[in-house]
């Protein structure tokens, strides 16, 4: 496992290949130049600038919170507005001179000052109303800033603020009544901006914010198991979509791998939840499916996109065709076990199988994050099975024995079928 950055590893490999005569000097230099072209990578200097800006934002927030009466309210407000304009001025100056991280940091500071200004006015006039409204205004102003100035760090802040806005309203939610659907509109705007600005960190933030909304939706709806099945279907659709994009068009411009990891993680969490809800200490309402006889429809319909992508892959002979079909099979198994046949130990076995599939996919795609999720999930699943079956240890022992035999048997068959075996690979 590498502990160095991708650039450092590739750079060292280039040097090594050139020294050993595997690569001519001209090609090595051209490759090195191509590697160095991304001059906007997050350096230590960028980290220090970001940390400094964050400290200044906290200074402004605590200055507001201190309610320092040695200075008049109007003076305090003017001070914050002056700081806002100074920060935007600095952003303009540094932007025109190509000081990328100073430019990004200044814009972040300006939007921090905007937030401090909102807090200050709220404090001066005792405006509390719904505190989330203030965060919403801050988020809207910040996202507008990101759109008009192409500020990547500002966009990250805006996406985070909208997630905070959503989180602040969860307390007021009532089952079946409010999932804060307008949030998805703001989230979508953030996602579009992340795609437009080609910002990887904003893309990460976008996916995390969506996961946050999905998980919060799971906790607020009246039928959490059905919601979990729907969430699982959405995760499978996302996995198929990413595999399809990786097979050809690369619509997310290289973010597919990370998005795939998030989707797989979400599927793992959902499968864990579904399995736990079936245990004896679980929390699944036994009448939930009975009261909603049509509950199977939406989760089943959500398998259609995965199936369609697999068929399209078959037609176009995509490289990841195998993984697309396995995704469909995983969806069918998860729905089958949790909707039709929740027999004893079958959900636990499926949970282990899901993480083995994820680990396998990690190796097939050579993606470390998938391998980590798969292996970590597998260990957690083993511990969970052990934990929930304490008291019937002989049964647990039998389960592990069966699982171990199946795994080793599968590994032996795979070894026998491996075409590289004879070459010692």
């Amino acid at each position: 496992m590498h502990i160095k950055s991708k650039n450092a590893v590739i750079g060292e490999a280039l040097e090594d290949w050139r020294d050993r005569g595997l690569l001519d000097t001209d090609t090595a230099l051209r490759l090195r130049a191509d590697l160095d072209r991304g001059g906007q990578s997050f350096s230590f200097n960028a980290f220090v600038i970001t940390a400094g800006v964050v400290c200044l934002c906290f200074a402004a927030m605590t200055f507001v919170a201190a309610n320092w009466d040695q200075m008049s309210r109007l003076t305090r407000l003017m001070l914050v507005v002056l700081a806002l304009w100074t920060a935007w001025g600095a952003a303009l100056w540094t932007g025109l001179r190509g000081l990328h991280w100073w430019h990004q940091g200044s814009m972040l500071l300006a939007c921090g000052m905007f937030g401090a200004g909102i807090m200050l006015v709220s404090q001066i006039y005792h405006i509390q109303g719904n505190a989330a409204d203030a965060v919403w205004l801050w988020a809207v102003g910040t996202m507008l800033g990101a759109a008009l100035t192409r500020g990547r760090m500002v966009l990250v802040l805006a996406i985070g603020l909208f997630a905070v806005w959503h989180g602040m309203q969860i307390e007021g939610f009532r089952p079946d009544s409010d999932l804060n659907l307008p949030y998805l509109g703001w989230w979508g705007a953030g996602a579009m901006l992340a795609l437009w600005l080609q910002s990887r960190i904003a893309a990460h933030m976008t996916v995390l914010a969506l996961c946050f909304w999905l998980i919060s939706a799971l906790t607020t709806v009246a039928s959490p198991v059905l919601a979990a099945l729907i969430l699982g279907g959405l995760a499978l659709t996302a996995i198929s979509g990413m595999l399809a994009s990786l097979s050809g068009p690369r619509l997310l411009r290289g973010f597919e791998g990370a998005a795939l990891a998030y989707a797989v993680l979400m599927l793992g969490i959902v499968t864990f939840y579904l399995t736990l809800s079936l245990t004896e200490a679980g929390f699944r309402d036994p009448f939930e499916t009975e009261t909603d006889p049509h509950g199977w429809i939406i989760p089943t319909l959500l398998l259609i996109p995965s199936l369609a992508l697999a068929m399209l892959g078959q037609f176009r002979r995509w490289a990841l065709l195998y993984d697309l079909w396995v995704t469909v099979a995983a969806g069918v198994l998860i729905l089958g076990v949790h909707l039709v046949f929740p027999l004893p130990l079958l959900p636990e076995a499926l949970l282990l199988a899901v993480f083995i599939w994820v680990t396998r996919m990690g190796w097939r795609l050579d993606q470390r994050s998938l391998r980590v999720i798969g292996m970590g999930g597998f260990i957690l699943a083993l511990l969970m099975v052990y934990g929930v079956t304490v008291g019937t240890l002989i049964g647990t022992s039998g389960f592990y024995l069966g699982a171990g035999v199946i795994l080793l048997g599968g590994a032996w068959v795979a070894t026998r079928l491996d075409p590289k075996r004879k070459t010692g690979s």
Binding site: V64, N67, L99, W102, I118, V121, Q123, H126, N130
Partner: protein, 190 residues
């Protein structure tokens, strides 16, 4: 210092109006908050509601006193209640002047009533034991730490009143505080 190539001319041309526009819009948003509130304080109808106070702290806005407004808990028999009221939905409270100088709730409505008396907009939380529980968006009085603690330390026998400025739609802003009928704090417009 990380220096990359200066932005191309089209990007630079685009950056200047972009930054100026954002700075103006953000300043305008702050300005609108200030002028709206100042106008409400200046022109709003003034009512006084009875309250108590305790002193917690807000992460962003510092110390404040929670104002336990008397009209957040009403006996069902004391007011007329619109049957359309729903838990968690807005409530419009018509007010009438009390003999002791504090304004009292007269009726609760699910929609803005056609009334000549001042109206306060809040949220109908729930009903319990024949009591109606309401909440209003002016139950916090932000103050420097010493003043917030001072408000909290008031003798229980002292009657505290919060002066509100109301507009015609039921929106209100805190204009000042009274103790035993005497004005102790008055909010400046700016």
């Amino acid at each position: 210092m990380t220096r990359v190539a200066p932005p191309s001319r089209p990007a630079a041309r685009w950056l200047i109006p972009g930054i100026v526009a954002v700075a103006l819009l953000q300043t305008a948003a702050l300005g609108k908050m200030v002028t709206d509130r100042a106008a409400l304080l200046r022109d709003g109808f003034e009512v006084v509601l009875e309250t108590g106070a305790i002193d917690p702290r807000d992460l962003f806005r510092g110390h404040y006193a929670i104002l336990n407004l008397a009209i957040t808990r009403l006996d069902k028999g004391d007011v007329t209640v619109d049957p359309a009221l729903a838990s968690g939905a807005p409530v419009y409270v018509t007010l009438t002047a009390g003999e002791d100088g504090y304004w009292q709730a007269q009726g609760l409505f699910a929609t803005p009533p056609d009334s000549t008396t001042p109206v306060l907009k809040g949220v109908f939380e729930y009903e319990i034991d024949q009591q109606l529980i309401l909440s209003f968006p002016f139950d916090r009085y932000f103050a420097p730490e010493d003043r917030a603690l001072e408000l909290e330390a008031l003798d229980r026998a002292d009657r505290m009143g919060v002066i509100l400025a109301l507009d015609g739609k039921g929106n209100g802003a805190i204009k000042g505080l009274m103790i035993d009928g005497a004005l102790v704090y008055e909010e400046p417009l700016f």
